[in-house]
Symmetry: C2
Subunit: 365 residues, 2 copies
């Protein structure tokens, strides 16, 4: 992995994609360093890809998927003397390794599986790699397009609601486009409508305070950072017209895994009478999952809560519970804004309908 | 202000009071440095006192009151050539200055007023100072006693509930005794009952992660730090038997000002069916305040959210909303555990009853 810091000077004005394919390698923004520094990392191996995903240098469910998809291409490089069968075995191994780098976000597995299935049809090592690269690029292009559709669907659904509370980061740093939940914010800006964002800071890694604040400031959008715990006082005080968040995995009944703290916002929104929206591409739905009960929630290192950078935030040895996500029950969600329109309750009908699959008998039996 | 670091070595085993009168000055623990370092500051002037209170080196509603009460004594020192009338004028000025160092906690004003009223009866500068010191010591002794009573009342009220979630710090660092909400935890330990604490970290200043974790580890009590936003997932998961928090000011209808994030926990507890308790001495009630609507909520510096120590947590210029407190409506509070027993709804009857004042007509009219 090599570092290119040449973009740091102009990073507030230039739009660097969070993940892109350049020549024969991947370039990603190291999101752990924002907002202090815009450092672009060059990834040349599958190890590089797994590393940036696991340490959250690359984060945001769609962006993780893009990095993983391009990572498969890296894994299929320099195999000129390899038979097609050997290549396919390697393709499966690489896809499996990258696909399991993080357990909760469904987009990673979805993207990697698409690339694997497209590439496996190749007849030579060269063809397999070319098909993988073409499919990864397609996944990225589809996401950019999906973000645009989500933004426009949200623009209509949230008409007249200008003061939005969001959690974590779901914008240009999390997607190939203008984002999912933040896509709705950018769509409002693009449409010339008023929009004002409360960004909850999102402990422990502060994706709201660091990343959402950074990209909205950069875009000239009115943003105010609040502590996660201010949820109740700000919503009860009538200062929020809607909550809008992203998603890492959505079950067929609307149960939604998203960054830890999302469920708390949803409970508070319900009491305050504030509508609570999830914005996500259709690839976030897990058609195999009836409810959120079976979702595997990644637990992360204790030091994410005990240290901030090199400074302590808690006693070094104190036990910590650090789940990366929580699961918001579908019954707290007003609507799910997707690239195929806004899905509404009852989700066990609307979601299978949008997925093009019939509701499963056991779910209704 | 001078520094004495000689206690740092043994700080995990020795019980240093957060505020105490030593010879002719005040010694306080600088709580901003915990858990990294136990530094004891010597305060010799009213300026020193206001400074440590405003920058939260001394925090916790009762402890702020003790520091303020002793601060009045500092203000009445070295006045030998002053007439009693001049002394009384100075007494009023000092009490007024210290009493307004922070706007939300009622204990500060309550303690300072007690000292002022006791001291003003003195006939000489010497007598005025002696009366002030005696009253400040009395305020501290009463608080130690109140904590014991709160702990014992909570022990009874929370019998069988061993897994407690708390917010901020309400223990040995916040009071002259074993604490308010944490007093109940210590009482359970002292009674040989099982007790296990989830400490929400309490952004932005992390009093839960830093101070509650530190003092419970020191006492050998099972403690786990969680992000504030994990409130819903941990309570919904059935891992919490009760929430118990402190208070900075309680209105006559039970509305309770406490550290930002408390109201959010209370909303979540209600949905999860988890009882939600406030533990506080009777001096926390504001008999003049009918409801929480009129409570002044201190807003603190934006950099508390934008920096952790000398490391950035957000863009340097991003706007921030940083209220120090929120107000939990009385209707979300299962009981208020006080040194005069546990008050239950309807609070507009039980609280005036405990205060020995009749319900006000306008409140029921």
């Amino acid at each position: 992995m090599t570092y290119d810091t040449s973009l740091a000077d102009g990073f507030l004005s230039r739009l660097q994609p969070p993940v892109e394919w350049v020549d024969d390698h991947i370039e990603v923004i190291d999101q752990t360093l924002l907002p202090d520094e815009l450092r672009v990392l060059s990834l040349h191996t599958v190890d590089d890809v797994v590393d940036v995903i696991q340490r959250l240098a690359v984060r945001g469910a769609p962006t993780i998927g893009h990095c993983g998809a391009l990572g498969v291409v890296l894994g299929m490089t320099a195999l000129a003397d390899t038979t097609a069968d050997e290549c396919r075995a390697r393709l499966n191994a690489v896809a499996s390794r990258i696909g399991s780098a993080r357990p909760t976000a469904v987009n990673l597995n979805w993207a990697v599986t698409r690339v694997r299935e497209a590439a496996t049809r190749g007849q030579t090592a060269y063809e397999i790699r070319e098909l993988a690269l073409a499919e990864a690029r397609q996944v990225i292009a589809l996401d950019r397009d999906a973000c645009t559709r989500i933004g426009l669907a949200g623009l209509e659904e949230l008409a007249g609601r200008s003061r939005l509370l969001t959690h974590c980061n779901t914008g240009r740093l999390a997607t190939a486009g203008w984002g999912t939940a933040l896509g709705v914010v950018y769509a409002k800006q693009a449409a010339g409508e008023p929009v004002e964002v409360y960004a909850s800071e999102t402990r422990p890694l502060l994706q709201g305070a660091r990343l959402t604040a950074w990209e909205l400031l950069d875009a000239g959008i009115d943003v105010t950072v609040i502590p996660d715990g201010a949820s109740a006082v700000i919503m009860d005080g009538g200062r929020v017209d809607a909550v809008i968040v992203g998603a890492d995995r959505i079950a067929r009944n609307g149960d939604t895994a998203n960054k830890i703290g999302t469920f708390t916002h949803a409970v508070v929104a319900r009491r305050a009478g504030v509508p609570f929206y999830v914005a996500a591409p259709m690839s976030t739905f897990d058609p195999m999952m009836e409810t959120g009960a079976a979702m595997v929630i990644e637990e992360r290192a204790a030091d994410e809560l005990r240290r901030w950078k090199d400074r302590s935030t808690a006693p070094a040895e104190v036990p910590v519970w650090n789940p990366a996500f929580d699961v918001t029950p579908g019954d707290l969600i007003t609507g799910i804004i997707t690239d195929r329109g806004v899905l509404k309750p009852p989700y066990d009908l609307s979601i299978p309908g949008a997925l093009g699959t019939a509701p499963r008998r056991e779910h209704h039996g």
